[in-house]
Symmetry: C2
Subunit: 119 residues, 2 copies
Amino acid sequence: MADIQAEYLACPIRQVVSRFGDKWSLLVLFLLNKSDTGVMRFNEIRRFMTDCSQKMLSQTLKNLEQNNLVHREVYPEVPPRVEYSLTNTGKSLIPALSALIAWGQEHFDEVVNKTVIID
Amino acid sequence: MADIQAEYLACPIRQVVSRFGDKWSLLVLFLLNKSDTGVMRFNEIRRFMTDCSQKMLSQTLKNLEQNNLVHREVYPEVPPRVEYSLTNTGKSLIPALSALIAWGQEHFDEVVNKTVIID
DNA sequence: CCCAATTCCTACCATTTGGTAACTATCCCA
DNA sequence: TGGGATAGTTACCAAATGGTAGGAATTGGG
């Protein structure tokens, strides 16, 4: 049992969850990773993530960029073109992300049908 | 590129995040896994998670129990004793969780110092 | 008789999150 | 002249999240 306390307080999960545990971040990373070219434009992502509002997508991308997981390349053209891609740090997260996805696929039925509602 | 759309819409990450992507769930799983006996009582968990309020801990535990990740054993004593432990499904999540933690440890410095504030 | 210990629950409140709809800016094209 | 395309932003609003403080239930101990 030793010093779980210290380990707990320093546990990186807190950082991970607080930064990418939101509704859309991991899905953006998933999509960028799936892309053939490794690069996607704003409205291209939107076309896949039909259930994510424009505002939330731009907010999510900004957040991912600030946290150095996504690279944002602006081409000064008209109309403007902006391309998003994974940074090396972003790519390094993919194995852990895949592990989570795989877990979800395997164990979904053991969890589904249970209500999420807490109150 | 094929049919990312379908893959996206069915992506288990959405379920995973929506259920355990909150502030405390993964930390509880982390602690239960670290425990020598595999079993922890309510106030025992609280003593480690000093920054989680009583209300949130009980809410989190209830949620984890409803999602079949944590088992709750009540002993009809006075004062009451309740023991929490990981279910098999809960244990099966540990490798993926460890991968996330390991990623956090390795890449934390590439992400830290960046503000989380979006607006 | 009151307090302690245990495992919560409840009321109340502030903050955060996320959605909709409309707006901006630019230039090309019809 | 007036869309259309691109990549957003902004204002406004509703819902979810999380915190504090106190209550509830039980029974043994001083």
